[in-house]
Structures are given as C-alpha cells and as structure tokens.
Amino acid sequence: MHGNIKQISQDLLPGLLDYMAKGLKDDTDEGVLNELAFHKRSIIKHPCLFVEDSNSAKAAGSVQTLQAIKDWAQSKALHLDVVLTGGLGYLSGQPVIGIQLPGRNRLFFGPVQDYQVSHLMEAVMKHFVPEENLLGQWDVGGQIEWEGVPYLHDHPFFAGQERRVLRLNGIIDPCDVMDYIAWGGYNAFVKSIRFYTHEEIVQLVEASSVRGRSGSGYPAADKWQKVISTTARKRYVICNADESDPGAYMHRVLLEGNPHVAIEGLMLAAYAIGASEGIIYTRSRYSNVVDRLECAVDQVRELGLIGQDILGSGFSFDIKIRKGPGAYVCGEETALIASLEGKRGMPRPKPPYPAKSGLFGMPTLVHNVETLSQIPLIVDKGPQWYKSVGTEESSGTKLFSLAGRFNKHGVVEVPFGYILKDLTDLNAQGVKNCKKAKAILAGGPSGKFISSKNFDIALDFEDFEKSNLILGSGSLVLLDESSCSVNLISHLMKFIQKESCGKCIPCREGTRRMAEILDKVIRRPERDKEHDTLHRFKGVTQLNDLARVIGETSLCGLGKGAANPLLSALEHFREEFEEHLFNRVCPAGVCQDLRSFVIDAEICNGCYVCFSKCPEQAIIGSPRQVHAIIPDRCTGCGKCHEVCKFNAVFIQ
C-alpha cells in the first residue's frame, strides 16, 4: 500500500531486467511473469478498488469515499484490495473510483461521494452496473468485458483523446514502481543502457522532431546537441516541475498519477547527454507530488536503475528532488537555476544559455515534465510511431488543462492539430449553465485570447504562430458572457506584478503602472477628486505604448509576455473596455464597483433575507413589504443577489 516500497526479491531482479531489455521471450522467468501479472492486476483473487488519491480528489471528498468503502467492506466482512491511484485527469468526475471484480474488466465511476458508496458497491457486487455516475469500463487485458457497458475511451471527456503520456494515470499505484514496470515502464531505459549508444538516443529524439512543451516549442534535440557540443567535465539535467500558471495543472495531475514517466524521461535524457546528476525542481506546496516523486526516486534507486555504474554499463547518474519556495518566476530556466544554486530566484540575461553555462556554470539541459515524459515513448516505440499523430511540425500529443467556465474540467491529452472547437464542445461538453462562450485565454498570464469566432483553430504550434497566438504551457481558460475580460486582465496584471522578481525596471515598474491603470478602470476612487477622470483617461492612452515597451525590453519571458493578455483583450474586447471607461459600467456585472443591483418589485415577497444580510444597510423594507436598494449606499458586493431565493435581485 501507500508509501511502502515493495521489495522485489533479488532472485527475480536479473530476470526482470532481461524482460525489460528484451521484452517477453519464451525463456522469461515465470516468477517474473507472475509478478508482472499481479501488478497489472490481470489476475486478482479479490475484488479490487481503485480510489483516486490526489489533492484535487481529496478536495472533492475522496477521503470520505475511501472511508465509506472500507466501512462497507467491513460491514459485509468482504475482503477488498484497495489501491490508491492518481487521477484520470477528469476533474469534474472526482472522486473517481475504479472497481475490478476477479475476471472482469475494470469499471470506473465518478463522482462517487461517500453516501453513494454502499448502493454502488452492492450493485456491482451483484454484477449489475448502475448507469448513474458511470464513466465506463476499462480493458485490463484478457478479462471478460461487461456487456452493454460503454468503454471509458468512449466517454465524451475521453473520446478523441490520444492518451500516451497519461495512459497509466489513474490505472497504476504511483507509489509502486512495479506497477509502472508491469505496463512496460523503464523498458526504454533498460533497453537503451544495454543496447543503445548515447548518439542513438539523440538520433531517435531528433527523428521524432519532438518540441519543448513549455511554450516556445524549441526542438528538444537541438537543445541536447548544444549540451553535447560542450566540453565540460560535468553536465546536469533538470526537470522543471514548478508549474504555476494560473489555470494550468497538467504536470501536477501527471506527476500525482504517474511520476515514473517523467523520471524515466529524465534518466534517458541524462544518458543521452552524459549528465551525471538530475534534479527535479518542484515546489514544496505540491506535497502530493513531492511525496510521490521522492518515493518513486527511492524505488528506482533500489532497483539499481540510478546510482553508480548503472546495470554495469559504466554510466552513473542520480536524481535529486528540490523543493522551490513557490515563486512564479522560478519557472523561468535561469531563475530556476539561480534558485537551485541557493541564490535569489532571479533570471539572468541570455546568452549564455543554460545549455552552454547553466547550473554552477556547467552545461545544463532544462526540460519541463511534459517534454521529458515524451522521451520514453519515443525510445520505446520509435520515432515513426511517435510521429503517427500530430502535425507536420508538431509531432505527438499535448496535454491541455481546462479551466474557467467549461462544463467539464480536467486534463486532456490530444494529438497536436486537434480542433479547439472539438475540445470545448465535445470533451469539455460546452459551457457551464449553457451560457455563450466569449473567448479562451490560452497560455496563462502571458497568453492571448482566442475569441469564440476562432474556435475552429487547430491546437498546434504552426496554427498558433500563424494566428499570432501563444500555446504556452497548455492552459485553456474559458470566458463566457458572464465573465468580464477587463476584470480578468486586471487580475492577471496584479498576479504578474506580484510575481515579478523585481530585477528589471520595465517588468517591475511597468507592470505596476499597468496594474494601477487597469485598477482605475475597474474601480471607483474612494474619494471623488476632480482629476480622477483625467488620470484614468491619461493612463489608458499610455497603455498601448507601455505594453509595447515592456514586451520589447524586459529581461525574461515573464515581463516580455506580461502585456500579451492586455493587448489581445484590447483587440478583442474593445467595447467592453470602452463601457468600463466611458460609461463606468461593467457589462458582465463582475466588477464590483461598476455594478449596482435592483429588486424586482413584482417578484419580491418581502422575505427580509436580503435586508438582514446587506453589509452596508443599503436595503430598505419591512417584512412582507417590497424591498428596495438605495443606490448610493450599495457597494455592489452582490450579497443580496446571492441570498435571494426568488431571483428578485438583478444586476442593473
């Protein structure tokens, strides 16, 4: 179970390594096969339950669900095996549970709250599959399928996805390396170290034309070649797991469900470029991720896949896990390196690039979790297979995280070139509360808006470049008609301003200036002064120039991209800005200072609730009499709107 490193007996290890290097052969040790089958759960004696145990699932109630399952099993005196897994990536279905009865395919349900457990369990135990909360059945391999039960990959959220990196998420126990190995994990590494030279790995990566997933899409092999071309005595490889774009959670989901895929990628990259030390830089607040990475690295070390003279090959490599303090700018590679060196996390000018002079002045390869996770697939299945999906210039798949007003949230893995409209309409099942979509912010706080007219864009580097958009790390935040773009921009600008390291002037002072100008647009001044309107207009006229200069002159990507959402919003939502600016009204009714509420006299029955809840005493009325709001006192907090059970309070 969780946290315990399951020891594989020393007798089995040589056989296991042989199997990993050569694949299944006639002479494969039977003990190994049994071990693998056990970890694949293709042969089970007792019903097996898979409960999602990630931070987001815990928030959705997985702990209570797990307890309910245990209680239920105890009350029935049933022997149940419980496996704690990571998430499938389907956040709207949390907490997800998987039920596998001996000899049958695995069934996934979600969301399953604690009160639903006994009903569900009893039904499944009687071989009856309730349709409520059913996600689908999943083919374990060689098991009897449930008749009439749809497959998981046909579920709207999963349909159309090409789950390669995520294929084992929610399936395996992230804290058991044997689970990963049972499904073919570390095969690529053992194969490489036994049969491939460094150059061959680089060639494979080059042939796959895999591009960095961190935003700019720099070809990974080029970066590798740069590191290899140096003559340093020590090289480093760093896995950037400090994902912190608002609305991005792909790496967290990936690492919580399957830390090994990134670790294997790190090991392969290290082998290819001849690095002796690998560092995974994550942040201390991602406690689940940190635990699982630590546990995984320990287990890999115990198997002898990292350490001195790995498998007798002469190649030595070890992995350290470093917990960052949680600064957005530390996702920038030079700032990340400074942070690892024990310095203040501030970017430095490039060139020299980290590939030439990185950590402690040594050549350093920095990739993010997703990029590294591609490497085992490429090495294992070959570049041709890898390139079989995706587009000409963007091969393979890409993770996207859906946030904002989507109907369904989660992490999806789709091939490059997937149409955005399909993603929003089919996978995410449209907009929440059947509202109209306005735009999608792609690429986090340095990203740009894709307006709803352009939703037929393909999700790949080429199309995004053509449309002057930024793919970024892959976060997609949907805005609908009830979201205010000006408010969002102001919020993002404040985020950038707070997270700016403060080193270079344009980013530090410029983002502050922009944040203050935007703040004036969405707020009313506390005291009305004569010049306020003048200052507001004066500020807005500067916005464009300011944004341009900040983008052109900033030191790192944080500053360079700081003005992107603003410029793109000015392009798409000019009317909204003008409404805020000239009429001092927020059309979406989001900006607190620029909205006011009215009570519909025909609906109001004088229930008195809004009267008692109003923090400003802005509502007059007595019981069973129609209430009214005094506009001068109303601060637009929206409390009355929230509490009215009869929908009598409207935004004016």
Partner: protein, 549 residues
C-alpha cells in the same frame, strides 16, 4: 577572431564574443546604463542599454550581448529612445521629488538620464512607498525610497565579501535591505562606503557633520584643529578646477586656516608616527614562527575582522590607526580642542564613534568628514583657490615627513614600514638588502623580506576577497607572513568618501602624483625617528572586540 559589425551605419572592427556595450564605448558611442559596473559580470537589470539589432524582434541589452558578425546595430533609433524614455519615466513615476535636498543633486545618474532623454513631464504617479530611512549606522545613511534597485551596492558588497546588503521581497515590494531588514548597524556592514560610490542616486549616502562643524567654527569656544589625510590632498583638485591629481595640499592648508581652523595638520605625520610604532613591534611578527600577522590601519578592515573573522584578532599588530593616534596626541596636549579629520574614508566615521576611541563619551576625533564634505565646506566659505598662496601645515614633529602621500595607496604602509624598520632595527634589517617595492596597479603585491636568516612574506592587498583567501592560505604557510589589507580597491585613494566615480581616468593621475612626490630620504629618517620617539611614548595599544550577535 576579428570581425566587423555595423553600428549606426558605421563599420566597427571588433573581436567575436566581445560584449556589445564595451565595443560601443570603445568606439565613442555612449549608451546609457544604470546597472553596469566595470569589472563585474552584467546583470541586465536596468534595460537602458538596449539597442536595436536588425533581424531581432525585441530590443537587445548591449551590456550582456556578445557581438556576432551579422549584426547591424542602431543605438539611438526612435524606437530605442522611446523605450529608454519610457523606462526612465517609469522609474521617476515613484521617485521622491527631493532633488533639491538630495545629497546627490547634480551628481545623480537618474537626474542626468532624465535630462538627456528629455523627460519633461511626469506621465503618471504610481503609488509611492514610504520607506523608513535607515540611520542606524554611524557612517552610512540608507534611504530606500530613492533606490532604483540597480543592484550595484549589493554586487559591490558581495565583492567585498561582506554581503550586508541584499534584495528583500519581490515584485513591486522589492527593496534593498540588510539581514532581517533590521538596519545597517545590526548587519555585517564594515562601513567601507563602496556602496555609496556606486549608487547612481542618493539612496546611499554618508552621515554628514557639516552643520555641527560650522557651528563649532563660529563659536570659537574650542580650538578647532584639522587633520587632512594624504589621499584627500590629491583628490580635491578636480572639483576645484585644477588638473586631475594635482597635489593642492599647500593651498588647502591655507584655505582651512582662512575658514577658521586654528591648527591644520597633515596626515603624513601621524602616518609616520604609527609606522614607527609598528616597526617596533615588527620584530615579533618575523620571529614568532609561521602564520599571518596583520597591519591594522584600515578601519573597515578592522571592522571586518571584528564582524566576520574574530579568529584573526590575535594576528593583528596592536597599533592604532594614524588618525586615532593623532587624536590622542592632540587631546593629551590640548584637552579643550575640537578635532576634525578630513578623510577619504567612511570607515573612519564609524571608527571614531566606537567606545574605545572615546574619552568620557567624547570621541578623540570629534568629527570625521569625507572629501566630499570638505569640498562642500570650501565652497560654503567661498574660498577661491586661485587667489590664495601655499602654506605649510602645523607640525607635531620637527622633521621632514617620511611617507608623504604614499599611505593612500595599497602597499604604501608596507613601504613606510620598510623604511621605519631600517632605522628602528638597523642591525637586522637594511633597506638596501630589500629593494622590493610595493608599487604598481596590481591589487595584490607580494614580496619576500629577509630578517636574520628567517624569511618573511609581505603581502599588500587591496581587495578583501583576495586578501582573506591569502590569509587563509598563510595559515598553512611555512613562512611568517605580514599582510597589509585595505578594504577599498587600490587603497584609500578609492575610499568610500571620495568624490567622483572610480574610473581609471580619474585615478591614474592621482596615483602618478603620489608616486612622483615620494622621494628618497636616507639620513633624515633617523632624525624623524628620534622626534617620533619623543611624542609617542604614552600611546596606548589597539584593542579589538568581537561583535556580539
């Protein structure tokens, strides 16, 4: 590899890999910058040195970009100037409007930039941060509200191996501060004042005593006595309209008397006195066996030992610094005197405030003023240097001074000590046998001296970083070693209280003047020693106290 690049339509010859900014500067194209420092790696913080390079989407910072052959650079295109102006406007938007009352008025780099870029209106006023002015240090005032966060002070402080200053917080809350933001006095600051010299604005400044001095000059209740440090004499010429490096000591003495000082002394004399003090103790350092001994005349270096290396205290020659020696000698003769020490050093301000350098709560040196303050004083009293004549200083000794101005350079004390020893200990040491000299532009000068049959290594070093490394190495040395460490690069000539920037252009003539003035005196040294012996009998020894945390 020699390559050619095009800058503003003009072809420049350069080497591949050179930094663009230095190439531009060498060819007479000036690009503004707030954060770059000669001899330090670029940080790329201010973004004012941006230039337009054809084919690149963003503007490129010249300070950190290596030259490549395909480059076509435009250093002053409309786009570049607009960007620079915007950056300066952003800086000014929350800068306090205190130029008139600012210590750096007319010397401020931000002010200069704003004028150059024709910034004539404030485009917007962002929220100003009211930062508490840190007056806790006896020598340095830190006003964070005037800071432009260029990071120069932090870099120089790290370079000095003190690291008292550091960036605190991030984003718009970022500021320069000390450990725990508790103020300079509780930090490891050694008051070398190098941060003041690199600060582009008036954020870091020395603690001034001008008003206090003026009232003393006017009241005439006490005898006001001036002591002028040798380094000051060659450094004030520039500001008063003389050629750079001219020794104006004669005029200066005259001017100070006109201002109202009752006595004016040259610092060379007190240097000589301390030199003989040290020479008497020197024999011990050579015979004590392997290991370092340290000369103690730099107050900041002594503070460094107290703050950061108390383990070295036992190695220090217990001789007071020249100025403190002078203070004690004068106060012995004339208790009712007010001594003003004009010093190139900010560390002396700190030193004079220490309890061990006070008598009944009053410092031996009542006031320590920097070269900058001296210039202010001269201007305040309206002394016209063209219309006054050279005068000689008052004297404690009836003899020609030995070390003259040499003590203001790194290695100067070593040379002085050499001369002094040849008189104090003529049996064991002769000047002729040791022709080794401690001169030249190197930051570290090493020589092996002969004493009996024992060899002693002498090292004069003017960077703390290098000096401390050498001292640490000397712990394992088989020689006895003697170190003269100065906290400021090059010696007192680059002290924290000196005017102007620290460029070679300013310093070269000064250094030349100092070396030129030094002459060979052979017979007179023994006469000087006899004089010194008369006055220095009662002098106490230096005591060091480790800093309590």
């Amino acid at each position: 590899m020699q390559i050619e690049i095009e800058v503003n339509g003009q072809i420049l010859k350069t080497r591949k890999g050179d930094i663009l900014l230095s190439v531009l500067n060498q060819n007479g194209i000036r690009v503004p910058t707030l954060c770059s420092m000669e001899g330090f790696p670029p940080t790329g913080a201010c973004r004012l040195c941006i230039v337009e390079v054809e084919g690149m989407a963003d503007l490129v910072p010249a300070c950190s970009y290596p030259v490549e052959e395909w480059m076509k650079v435009n250093t002053h295109s409309a786009r570049v100037i607009q960007a620079r102006r915007t950056i300066v406007e952003l800086l000014i938007s929350n800068h306090p409007d205190e130029c008139l009352y600012c210590f750096q008025n007319k010397h401020c780099e931000l002010q200069k930039l704003a004028t150059e870029l024709n910034v004539m209106e404030r485009k917007g006023r962002t929220r100003q941060f009211t930062r508490k002015i840190d007056r806790s240090s006896p020598s340095i005032i830190h006003d964070a509200s005037k800071c432009v966060l260029c990071g120069r002070c932090i870099r120089i402080c790290d370079h000095q191996r003190v690291s008292a200053l550091e960036f605190i917080s991030r984003g718009t809350e970022m500021r320069v501060g000390t450990v725990g933001d508790k103020g300079l006095s509780s930090s490891d600051c050694i008051s070398c004042g190098q941060c003041i010299r690199v600060c582009p604005t008036g954020s870091l400044q020395e603690k001034g005593h001008l008003d206090e001095l003026i009232s003393h000059l006017h009241q005439k209740q006490q005898q006001v006595i001036a002591l002028v440090d040798p380094a000051v004499m060659v450094s004030i010429g520039d500001e008063l309209g003389f050629r750079s490096g001219k020794d104006v000591s004669g005029l200066l003495f005259s001017a100070l008397r006109k201002i109202g000082f009752d006595q004016v002394h040259s610092g060379s004399e007190s240097v000589d006195i301390t030199m003989f003090q040290a020479a008497r103790l020197w024999k011990h350092t050579a015979t004590k066996g392997p290991g370092p001994s340290l000369i103690s005349f730099c107050p900041s270096w002594m503070q460094y030992i107290e703050n950061l290396r108390p383990d070295l205290m036992s190695c220090v020659l217990p001789v007071l610094s020249p100025a403190q020696t002078f203070g004690r000698l004068i106060k012995d003769i004339n208790t009712n005197s007010y001594i003003v020490y004009f010093s190139p050093c900010v560390g002396s301000k700190m030193e004079s405030q220490k309890a061990e350098h006070q008598k009944e709560g009053i410092p031996y040196l009542n006031s320590v003023m920097s070269t900058r303050e001296l210039i202010q004083l001269i201007q305040l009293f309206g002394i016209d240097f063209d219309r006054i004549n050279n005068e000689v200083p008052d004297s404690l000794l009836n003899s020609v001074p030995m070390s003259r101005l040499l003590s203001s350079l790194s290695g100067g004390y070593m040379e002085g000590l050499m001369k002094a020893i040849s008189v104090v200990d003529p049996d064991n040491y002769s000047l002729d046998g040791n022709k080794a000299k401690f001169r030249g532009p190197k930051s570290c000068k090493k020589n092996i001296m002969l004493h009996y049959t024992i060899e002693q290594k002498w090292t004069a070093c003017s960077t703390l970083d290098e000096g401390i490394n050498l001292i640490d190495q000397s712990m394992q040395s088989k020689y006895p070693e003697l170190f003269e460490i100065m906290a400021c690069p090059g010696g007192c000539i680059n002290g924290g209280g000196q005017p102007g920037n620290k460029s070679d252009k300013v310093n070269k003539p000064r250094i030349k003047e100092i070396y030129d003035q030094d002459s060979e005196l052979s017979g007179q040294i023994s006469q000087l020693y006899a004089e010194v012996s008369k006055v220095s009998k009662k002098l106490p020894v230096l005591e060091l106290k480790a800093k309590e945390d």
